[in-house]
Amino acid sequence: MTNLDVPYLVLAGGLFAVGAFGLLYRRNPLVMLMCVELMLNAVNLTFVTFGRMMNDLNGQVIVFFVLVVAAAEVVVGLAIIVAVIRRRPGASADDLKVLRG
């Protein structure tokens, strides 16, 4: 098999960077949530790739747990976002002016 280790890792890194950028760039909480998913998927790809490189199954097992975490995160995150948007229709992260860093 052609050595695909580095391309896989680079692809994952690229996805991670795009996700991180999107999270800082976008103000829509739902899109920010999607960016988090993007980052987690990049990590998953990294895990699977490392697992294959080392011929170690644990890389895949970890991805399994990350999926569970992602699901739980999405549920809670959406619940919070729904609560916020219901209170302030059309809210984006821009509108969160009550609190300022």
Partner: protein, 228 residues
């Protein structure tokens, strides 16, 4: 050029375009659909790397549940309006910071993965002693050096069986903890779904509260100390 390579590049392109679509779509719905494309591409890449079960789970859980949930929320709340990405309500700094972080991140990662090239050292102890030209060792030696690890390419045993074994042996605690995680998700969703009856109005900006001379005096003292 092997099939795997072709598959990789096609999927990589789809994944990257999808990721770009998530970030640069003005409509959340488009973002979500782009995310689906990326997730599918990653599922195929999982298949490409012998992770058949994960590929299935990826499609079922992510595209089947998570993205649908997100889309559902978008539709439910009617927030599928277009966002003007040129708008800079928080000042240009925040987005510049985002760009800088992302570029720095990418640069570091590329430096490690790409220019580090074939000397990426993955964690097989023997590897360091056997010279650095190969990034990983033949399977037989792997199995000896790390008896705990499940081996991917064991003949004839389905991927899912091996995964199951690992989950119920080495990662049994982690598996049990996911129970707690899901409990939290349920409780959290229930808590946030409560509709409160009386809603407190948003107070005005709680700034410029202390005009007292004493506090000014402290600040003055602080200034002096800093100067001293």
């Amino acid at each position: 050029m092997s099939v795997q390579l072709v598959v990789f590049f096609i999927c990589a392109l789809i994944a990257l375009f999808g990721a770009g679509g998530v970030v640069w779509s003005r409509s959340p719905v488009h973002s979500a659909l782009s995310l689906v494309a990326t997730l599918f591409a990653i599922a195929v890449l999982f298949l490409n790397q012998n992770a058949q079960f994960l590929a299935a789970v990826q499609v079922i859980v992510y595209t089947g549940a998570i993205v649908i949930l997100i889309l559902f929320v978008i539709m439910l709340l009617g927030v599928d309006k277009l966002e003007n990405l040129a708008d800079e309500p928080l000042g240009i700094g925040f987005r510049v910071a985002g760009g800088v972080v992302a570029v720095a991140l990418l640069a570091v990662l590329l430096a490690v993965f790409f220019f580090g090239g074939r000397t990426i050292v993955t964690g097989k102890p023997a590897q360091a002693t056997f010279g650095g030209t190969s990034t990983y060792q033949p399977i037989s030696q792997q199995a000896v050096s790390n008896p705990q690890a499940g081996v991917i390419d064991t003949a004839d045993v389905p991927n899912i069986n091996l995964l199951g074994k690992q989950i119920f042996t080495q990662y049994i605690l982690a598996f049990e903890v996911t129970a707690a995680l899901l409990t939290i998700a349920v409780v959290g969703a229930v808590v946030m779904a409560h509709r409160s009856k009386q809603v407190q109005p948003i107070p005005d900006e709680p700034e410029s509260l202390d005009s007292g001379a004493d506090l000014a005096a402290i600040d003055a003292a602080g200034e002096e100390v800093r100067e001293a």
